[in-house]
Symmetry: C2
Subunit: 287 residues, 2 copies
């Protein structure tokens, strides 16, 4: 019997916990706030930002937002980031990607102070993660870890295969898993024998962007399979894993949608709360 | 037949190449310089620093050095680092570890600008490595990569086991190998079945600090074995690998001493040269 992991339910529980802590923080006079910066008119980006802002407001946090035109210059975006960086009411800053082609995302992201880097994508946050120091971790890989924790799946000593070594998921996830004491194998487009990497694994996490890449030939009976992929098809959303074929083989599996997806936004809430706490420790508000 | 990889010869070749480039750089008016900072009277640290300074002078680079007393304060060490950071003749700064117990190594190392961080140990350099951006990489893992390159061992698509996930070697090495397109498995003290991780590997790199940990039960015939360990015993130096037992099994193996050891200092020379070039691009010297 393969159990479907209910990411939606786990994410809701985490968001409710965040909301409860926001209420506490509000009582002590400091309401966490997230500033979202959207540049241009990409419809998908607009949808994502709207969902994040709604979640922030639902959690009782302050919602700051700036929408810049598609032709915004580097200096325009930098000025908005700097303004939010200096604003003590803004706990976290999220620059929605992708940016229009005239802008260098890497340089602009690195303008966000690490203490407000709720997406965990700055070079500074990557360094803090690499060194195991306090910092904000990228939301999707943190969401994968939170999902495994919520399911009570032990990571210490577990053999985990991470399939896909992208900057947003695979790279930080491998490090988060190693910090938790997992034995980690990383496979990617240059891997010659993918099944040899994934078959020995207790947990297989797939974040490749290749639809239906992983099937029963890759997974040993009893493994936990986490599917980070998301693809829009005529038949609806689907992932990097051929889930139906793993029924009866995997012990537990995340669905698409309703698996990792909802966790990402829940972890953004967690990061915004953490950023607010970090900021408060750095510059205590006068009573 | 198992071939012994001659790290001493490869390191000498790299150091000669650096010396040739230093001669060129000197012609254009900018001599690379390394500043070593030694705090206290640890005899081993004094030996290491002396060896580094000798290598720097042999390569034709400038040798800056400051020796602080064992009771030096945080502010004493910080002032020296800041002075070298501001000095345009100093291309690279090396703070010799370990530091006396009253000093926080992590905070002091992070005071070194990333452009002068020839040990590659700052949080900034870790972030640049994690993001695959220009930066100085830690010397020992870079030395392992340079050794494999010098031996003509392909990394793209190779299956590599990294045994040991320490901050100085295993962590950065895993990332460097992944950037080169290797499929990487990382094992460490919490790994339950070490042989299951190492046996499928084409290349096994061992950096655990556990003397003689790896033997024939861990290595498949034809594998390349890189031993980063170094242990002082009554019978002389020895590593993390029981090399004699791998004779006839491994295709190639590094000896201890004379394997990875000499590469570390060669890569420090390479990093000092790179730091000088990086510094020159950032603030060109007037003709």
């Amino acid at each position: 019997m393969t159990t479907t992991i209910d990411g939606t339910r786990i994410a809701q529980r985490i968001r409710a916990q965040v909301a409860a802590k926001v209420t506490e923080a509000t009582g002590s006079g400091r309401i966490p706030g997230l500033a979202t910066v959207l540049v241009g008119d990409d419809p998908a980006s607009a949808v994502y930002v709207a969902a994040k802002r709604r979640a922030i407001r639902e959690a009782g946090m302050r919602d700051f937002h700036r929408h810049l035109p598609p032709r915004a210059t580097h200096d325009d975006v930098a000025a908005v980031i700097d303004e939010f960086a200096a604003d003590p009411h803004v706990s976290g800053i999220l620059l929605q990607l992708p940016l229009p082609p005239q802008l260098d995302a890497s340089v602009l992201i690195d303008r966000i102070p690490v203490t407000k880097d709720v997406d965990g994508l700055t070079t500074g946050s990557a360094g803090l993660l690499a060194r195991g120091e306090r910092g904000l971790r990228p939301c999707t890989p943190s969401g994968v870890i939170a999902l495994l924790d919520a399911e009570g799946i032990p990571l210490l000593g577990a053999q985990v295969a991470v399939v896909g070594w992208g900057e947003l998921v695979g790279q930080p996830l491998a490090q988060l898993l190693l910090r938790r004491g997992a034995t980690v194998s990383v496979a990617h487009e240059h891997t010659t024998d993918l099944a040899a990497v994934t078959r020995p694994a207790d947990i297989v996490v797939v974040a490749t962007g290749v639809r239906g890449l992983i099937g029963p030939e890759h997974v040993s009976p009893g493994a936990v399979v986490i599917d980070v992929g998301i693809h829009r098809t005529p038949a609806g959303l689907t992932g990097d894993v051929r889930s139906a074929e793993l029924d009866g083989i995997a012990d537990r599996i995340t669905p698409v949608p309703g698996g990792v997806g909802p966790m990402t936004i829940a972890m953004l809430m967690v990061n915004t709360l953490r950023a607010a706490q970090w900021g408060a420790e750095r510059e205590p508000v006068a009573a």
